[in-house]
């Protein structure tokens, strides 16, 4: 599968998955497939969601790091004292 775009229409994903477009719309409605809703009838499916649907083993891995003892106080010390930070 050669994916070269960042977003795909439901019809394009249906063609790749060899299913009817209504199946893709049902996936979106049920939350099985993520899509950005641009208007009442227009969806754009991010390439990551397409890969997750068709080739999930290819997905790059996200990560979460928890550092309970990290020192954040110095970043906000002195508030609210008028300390300005860059916009």
């Amino acid at each position: 599968m050669n994916l070269t775009k960042s977003f795909y229409s439901p019809h394009e994903v249906a063609a790749m998955a060899d299913v009817h477009p209504s199946t893709i719309l049902n996936y979106i409605a049920s939350g099985h497939l993520y899509a950005v809703k641009l208007s009442e009838r227009t969806y754009r499916i991010p390439v990551r969601a397409v890969i997750g649907l068709l080739e999930p083993e290819r997905l790059s891995r996200s990560s979460m790091t928890v550092q309970p003892n990290a020192d954040i106080e110095s970043e906000v010390s002195g508030e609210p004292t008028g300390q300005a930070i860059s916009a």
Binding site: L3, S62, M64, T65, P68, I72, V76, P80, A84, A87
Partner: protein
């Protein structure tokens, strides 16, 4: 934004991770939960798949929270949308501005030409997910970042 218990904070963090992971590769850092101030850093790269699909967008969301008798209270945020292709940036921030004492919610918009650098625009306080949904819709629509509709406050 109302204060959150530690459990609610962690639930929100985990929900954000799951929500954003559907769009791109997300890196979440939860820092300082054992102290009175903690920070949430979310970096979302889209598409985030690497070669042959270079990243087009970097969403960077940072929040600073302070422990109060009511729970964790958000005291500052920087929600930024970087268009890596066009070199533009759009954001919603909450922090004191130059010469001020109180945190001021505002928007920023910097174009590739440099227009907008150092400018602040009026904005209401906003939640991370609301900011993200606006940025995400703009990115998905293909519309470039621009300052239309923003009112300068300095």
């Amino acid at each position: 934004m109302r204060p959150l218990s530690s459990q609610a904070y962690n639930q929100r963090r985990d929900d954000l991770y799951s929500r954003l992971d559907r769009l791109g590769r997300v890196l979440v850092q939860d820092l300082g939960s054992n102290s009175a101030t903690r920070k949430l850093v979310v970096d979302l790269f889209v598409p985030g798949q690497g070669d042959p699909l270079p990243d087009e967008v970097h969403f960077r969301y940072q929040e600073w929270w302070r422990l109060s008798p009511l729970g964790w209270q958000r005291i500052r945020y920087d929600y930024d949308y970087f268009d890596l292709v066009r070199g533009a940036r759009r954001g919603y921030h909450l922090h004191p501005l130059e010469g001020g004492a109180a945190a001021v919610p505002h928007a920023v918009c910097v174009l590739a030409s440099g227009v907008g650098t150092g400018r602040h625009y009026a904005a209401h306080e906003i939640d991370l997910l609301a900011a993200h949904e606006e940025f995400e819709a703009q990115y998905a629509s293909g519309r470039p970042i621009d300052p239309r509709g923003l009112r300068a406050i300095d």
